[in-house]
Symmetry: D2
């Protein structure tokens, strides 16, 4: 059933399979008057592209976007922005061979069971390539947020068990793209890289944790009691493939804290109310507090590994083995960074419009 | 903006404030022919009621439900089921005193900031009493799932840092209501109780972790790519007050696992495909696998504590202190158990209908 | 399936059966700071109440509303406003007798077919009493629109083939409640009354046309291409029982006009663009033009008549006859006036919020 | 705000401007296993194409569709079906000249007012070319309905005041495409053609009425009380440009009928309940009755006419005149036929899935 649309007032619909003709997104609800161009969208798409380092797959994916509607003379017109990226240089031969062998950790078997048919080439709709549409849409959301002084940055804070030291927001922005790991602690990044390469050499993979920080969100954004800001962010992040956990501020650690320690005390600063600490991660009662929003997503190791795994042959309903060759990242978090930023940006924009903080019709006049 | 409705086809709308006239819910999309009665609803409401033990507030809350529509001669008719519980014996005097002093860890300040007005009595709409509507609706969802052989149980697996030993599903069902802790490991429950009482005596509070297990969900439930089953469950659970984290199966631990360990191998059992392990927590690619669904929610310590905390006086915009007296649980997870079960049940029912596994119109004929 | 909720950002959910315990509505998305009280709601409910004249049923319906949530110290708080009216003095005995004889022109048979069960007493959910919730919600929408200088009036322009002379808006407002017909042409009203009484005496009923006029809507309200203002208004009006047609401005007559006559020319008035004529009925391309919005709904004759009609006995699946006694209006349009106003008000408010013309959070500060 | 998506479970999102790069649609919720191919889609697109006769514009529009996703080896896979048609041979020069002169009867001025910017070329988003996406999606909906024995046909029943004689369904199907008028009464068609040509020669245009008939819908489809089948159909049809009125069965005429005449009596036929007449147009209480669904849409005359009209110059805010040259149909109804069929098909499919009459996941197995 229809589940490919996300958002209420700033709403995206993604479409496309990994090895189909193209992959794309329709963004509905972009206020008129926003500058939108290929360069801006491709800048973000490039960040999620594979083939950027030894730990990302050497596949060459086309990232040239076509903006097909909703933009006139360089600006949004308030009508839907449709964007697509053609799928080029797809090689589906390796998938032909395993079309009856569902890959462990992948949705192959479940798509087959649910729909009775599936495009098995490159993982079809459940491929990470589906995130192209999310990131293209996210680039518009981020450009819009920028107009309101809101900044978003995601970064890798843990990989294969190696934890990064906490960095301040400016340092994260500065270091984010310095290494293919997208870890702002450059020493940790080096160790992470090593660990990822070892895993790859073993035919294995590792997981990690991506943190997203949003600065500049005014207080009161979010809608009780179900469309709370953290509820919608959780749905957004959990909808990204391979995410297995989400937490805000002190997160799971808060389960082990005393209330007197966890509670963020209020104080007055420059005539405004703010909190002394930010254990809540910038959201209380489902509403933004005005403090930075901080959430983390736990990412499982890449399911595609060359190590031999047990699986079944659906054509004979018998047990067998599978070894997945091909060009796969040994770890996902670094490439998930722009996807996580995008999903968070989409939620924030949607809620900013819902709260009346962004005019839904036009940024002009 | 309107955020008080949850679900697509099985859809609830809750309303009511803690110290208002009443609190309630409208459940739309209940298939006709389901037995619904007061006893069944009140059975669940009783589980979330305070005043059940030394670690839950001695407040007496009315839990007598009125079923106002949608049920005829004991059965649902396919029209909306409206239910309400009157608020009786409310004493708002203690709130009058602190109406300008936002309680740390609560949404008081943010409601005031967002709306410019708020019902401060008993926390108003952001009170945990709001969950009465969720649990009443959840009792219907659970009764419906029972018809399809689906069972849901939540239990406390960690409190104040004390971890319970893993128990099998039957043991959880057996022990769940044996202690006010709702922890199936009875030894751990004892230690948790002790810890909670100590916290209360210190004027403080502790957090914990609630796990929800769902058995019997057929494979293929969930809607890629945004309305994934785990995405919707995350939104559902994160919309419960005080939840700060969510994880499935191996969850955050999967960030530290190798792919070869994390991946659940497929095998054939009784002619059906299933997985050897269940690190995925019963959901892969946003679709149920047919294995038990396992998710955990991290719950922060009760924000209302009698210890002195720093806050501000909104009437004078100056800094001050607050000590919250009154009848508050020193820990939330045990009472969150029926709420978590309810939210999960609502999501599963909604997705079962969306997938065509439950007839949306009628269970009759 | 769930179909009892209407609106996107100003959203109502109605519930209740004609002879059930109560009937009500939850209004979600009311901006904080609006004065809401029983008197205002009951003022509108009174207008839809039967028993007001010789041509409306002498049934006594309770119209005392209880406002259960969302209002604090006389003002909305931004949380859901739940309202109910108890069903008193219901006499279901006459329905017991015909529970297996579906009434022609009614939904009895279809509810039975769809759900396999139905509350047959008083028409159950498909009774006109369901509109109590719509009108209660509409009274809030109208109060909100009033703050923005928008006025709504519906009136009967045709009944039993008798057409009223066109009146200007002020005259309509002045004469609207002068007769039970709610026809602003008082001469026509007299003839209509006569015709309705004759129909009733024959054991028959007549239909008519209700016109709704909205003044003060700013230009540009509505959302292309599906959520056009007239598209949403059509859904709203067609969802009222017994409506069989909808038209705007010249409506069906425009099918017979030349383009040069139909097109509303633009001109400048007081520095603003407006149109010379208003054949479009205030909506072009799905957007309000700033001119009065004018729509008309064709209403079929009351289906409940005492004349003998052919029907079937569902218990024996044989053909039989039915004569519907009891207290039924011989014509619906006069009592539909407040319902039509309410549905239109709900759509206009919803779209005003969607367009950013009303702050969704608060009217305060 | 986002208004370019239609439907709940079978949901389309259209995008594109008349003279933009392309125009298209994403169809979400197509059950897996449906045969979909270019030929089938283009067959419908060809029906709405201009340049087919003396009364339709000689513009050559490309109607070659690209199916970009959701189809694998000729069958739907349950994932979104994205389709586009490139805009070729667009000539925007004539629009450049009138970009500040809003055309009477068009939405030009309102888009400019609402968004502060607009793509004025060819009418931009408010052009009838937008319906390409609707018809492409409609071709899938119709193919799906065909599997369930449901047939849809629209035809012109009145044009420029000339009324066609009522024809039975088979005759309509037979004659529908015999003349460019799409009027099944071939004699009337001839007179309509004459009238349209006279209007065109005068630099003017005429309107008409399109009727849509749906056969084979089972009883009980539709969702009380707001998502009634006729309510959703009304929204669907009213969202088509130039429609100014909608009616079902006896429609506006029912306002002049007695109840005893209007009511459709029940009888037994082959062991099933049906109605003797069909004044209700196949829908009572918002639910399909099992009888043919009959609705009519009043279509205003083409607003683009070459006759001189009064308008304003937005750049100088002064009054002026406009004469619209170019290639415009003198009447819209014949070309609206496939659009109306499509919108009705989309609503019926959506409601069939909502009622559980079509499996949302798969037609396979």
């Amino acid at each position: 059933m229809a589940g490919n649309t996300f958002g209420q007032l700033f709403r995206i619909t993604t479409w496309g399979e990994s090895h189909g003709r193209a992959i794309g997104v329709v963004v509905d609800g972009v206020p008129a008057g926003l500058e939108i161009n290929k360069k801006m969208v491709e800048g973000e798409l490039k960040r999620r592209r594979p083939g950027q380092s030894s730990i990302s797959t050497p596949r060459k994916e086309s990232d040239e976007v076509e903006i097909l509607s909703g933009v006139f003379e360089g600006k949004s017109t308030g009508t839907p922005v449709s964007m697509l990226v053609w799928n080029k240089n797809v090689d589906s031969s390796s998938y032909e061979r395993i079309k009856n062998l569902p890959r462990p950790g992948h949705a192959d078997y479940l798509y087959q069971k649910k729909y009775g048919i599936r495009d098995y080439r490159g993982g079809g709709r459940s491929s990470a390539r589906e995130t192209v549409g999310r990131v293209a849409a996210g680039s518009i959301a981020k450009a819009l947020l920028k107009r309101y002084g809101i900044k978003i940055a995601a970064h890798v804070v843990e990989l294969g068990g190696i934890k990064a030291e906490r960095q301040d927001f400016d340092k994260i922005m500065e270091n984010l793209e310095k290494t293919p790991l997208r870890c702002a602690d450059l020493d940790a990044a080096e160790k992470m890289l090593e660990k990822a390469e070892i895993a790859r050499n073993m035919g294995d993979s590792i997981g990690g944790i991506v943190e997203v920080i949003v600065k500049g969100v005014p207080p009161g954004i979010g809608e009780p009691v179900f469309d709370k800001l953290d509820a919608d962010l959780s749905k957004a992040l959990m909808s990204i493939g391979s995410v297995k956990g989400i937490e805000y501020g002190s997160g799971f650690e808060s389960a082990r804290m005393y209330g007197s320690k966890m509670n963020d005390s209020f104080l007055i600063e420059n005539g405004d109310v703010r909190t002394e600490t930010n254990n809540s991660g910038g959201i209380i009662g489902g509403l933004s507090t005005g403090m930075p929003i901080i959430c983390r997503a736990a990412v499982k190791p890449t399911p595609s590994i060359s190590k031999i795994q047990k699986t079944v042959d659906l054509s004979t309903m018998s047990e067998t083995e599978i070894s997945i060759h091909g060009r796969h990242d040994p770890t996902i978090p670094p490439r998930m960074v722009p996807v996580a930023e995008s999903m968070v940006a989409l939620v924030i924009v949607d809620h900013m419009i819902r709260c009346g903080n962004i005019d839904p019709d036009s940024l002009l006049g």
